[in-house]
Symmetry: none
DNA sequence: CATGAATGAGTCTTCATTCAT
DNA sequence: TATGAATGAAGACTCATTCAT
């Protein structure tokens, strides 16, 4: 019995996860989840008190971790010598780990959370990244227009780039390699960018 | 009469456009459109047979143009000397023009079409871009893993980058400047990328 | 075992009583009762076959007592000399005792029974009181309109007045004092009333 | 058509009013209203945007009037000579008029509004009446316990007494007569009360 | 005895669409 | 053409109750 309950609970979570990943939170109905889990709609509510509850049970832990990463990002002492390689190395390490460990949960939060209270997480992350880049620009006396657009673009592009590898069902190794590659790609564009503008 | 009719048709389209851009297709109801257009809900159906119809009338033409651009993209003779500057110059020209001319329609198709039969257009576009890049890679004997990811990433990044400037209500000049800037950014990352890998 | 069972039975009844008093019968769910009693919802049905059953077990005895009082009330020999002081003295005595002894059960029946088959008890009681007063009126040759309204009003007013003191968590003494006070209040209005009309 | 619409609107309001009066707001479902009005449940929402909306359309105007009466009640200058006859004469006049004119709406607000934002109106009214009586007590140096109970009781009793006549389907004349009678009844009980306590 | 599992009927509300006039 | 009227299917959620273990 205890076992059964757990089985169904897991079945619900798996069904919901699959559906959320496929259709997003809003376009996934309790009916769909119930049908996929092979139980009645009302029985769902014996396991989770609301649709959002299911979503949170799937993403809670990762959401906290994301917030932690964000906090670290903002802590980064900006006074020290500019070393993107180092910075991005740390970033890439930390990020790759979390991305690989929590692939689906990450996607839930970043791509499928419209309608939940996590729906702005990606935008917030991008915003903070952008702030970070703008600060870098300023420190290097670079001024392209208001810097706003380029920093936002790089932030978005990086963010989406980090998510892209986990959107496909590939091996951890494949993900790791590609993330590293894309970071390198950005470093190049970025560095060149500084050179061009400064010189 | 005929004139009046046309006025209403236009009013409907304008109202719908504004609402679709604000809320997306799915989250815009016929009620909202009717109210904004100042006519009755049922009268909408004298002008358009369904909600999707309104969306199509707003995006048809641009959608065709996009398809055309896509076709040209794929026609591009791959035999000639590799010249991304040239290629991207053409691309940037052509694209900037269409982006500026059809700002809102572009956004409708790319950002607000979930729920319509155009909802995959952006992904298709990205896919074709990716194909294109992969071909380039091949022609230059570059092989990074399966080339799949980097080409996909660059395609996505470029796509989103091109859309980003028109998401804000800025001057044509601002849009043009930023698109050029971001293309340059990519050329840098791109070129360097080849160099690194080749050398 | 038997002891345990009894403990749970009591726990259920106490929990239900508290909840019924707070929210009324309809707005109290089996879930709430189970949670408050610390047992499973389905186990409730091993003790009581339905929600109404719980309510009945809480109010049965008092309901019977009320019916008895009502019977006595109607038995009251109408032939003897009209002595409301005496009558009400008996009434007040009898009533105060039952009100104090069965405070909560009384409130359950009178204030919280909507949705159960006792929901009309208060109205019935008032109706009988009214009948009684009408009889008195008749016996004293008083005729105010059809006597209907005033007798009903006095009945209602008395009823509510008797319930009001026990609605608050005060001492028995406080209840007793206030019930006496309100009966006196009514005797005054009542007596004067007769005087006015007769003279 | 315009006529039809109005007919149905009226039909809905009448059906809803009858059901609200019979079962109260909470226990009346949109299904019941629709069925009674002879239309589909969803069609209700073309006329009223929510269940509460229907209730408000039925009670809005009267609710405002009640608030006005309440305001006047509080304005009453307490310094002048104690003249309950005069005070209650005004009260009875004003009240009788509103009670007769808006019988059903009054009952909706006072008896059937649980679940709406008007659900506390009766209690508020009683509370203000109570405050008023307590003030009177104080001015006449009467102190029965804390005066709280008796003033509350008289307030409640009066309130319920005023409502009682309109709870039945009788003539205006019948209502008027009975309200006057009950006020007289209270004056007697009240006056005597003062006398007893003071002397 | 106890409970986890299950459900069907019900709650209010939304919405794209149809139809008669 | 224009619109008021109408609706069925769907949305999330609640609840008293049943049943197998």
């Amino acid at each position: 019995m205890q076992v059964l309950k757990e089985e169904i609970r897991i079945k619900i979570l798996e069904s919901a996860k699959a559906l959320f990943l496929q259709n997003g939170f809003d376009k996934t109905s309790m009916n769909m989840i119930a049908k996929k889990a092979g139980i009645s709609k009302s029985n769902l509510y014996n396991y989770f008190s609301a649709k959002e509850e299911i979503f949170f049970h799937l993403t809670d832990r990762v959401h906290t971790e994301i917030r932690t990463v964000l906090a670290h990002l903002l802590d980064h002492e900006s006074g020290e010598a500019f070393d993107y390689h180092k910075y991005l190395a740390w970033m890439s390490d930390k990020t790759i780990k979390i991305l690989i460990k929590c692939r689906e949960e990450m996607l839930l939060i970043m791509d499928c959370s419209k309608g939940t209270r996590y729906e702005n997480t990606k935008q917030e992350f991008i915003f903070h990244l952008q702030q970070h880049f703008m600060q870098e620009f300023e420190e290097h006396n670079i001024s392209i227009d208001d810097n706003c657009f380029m920093s936002h673009y790089i932030a978005t592009s990086l963010m989406e780039g980090l998510l892209e590898p986990i959107r496909h069902n590939k091996s951890d190794e494949w993900i790791r390699k590609n993330i590293k590659m894309l970071i390198e790609y950005h470093i190049n564009g970025y560095a060149q960018f500084f050179t061009d503008v400064i010189s």
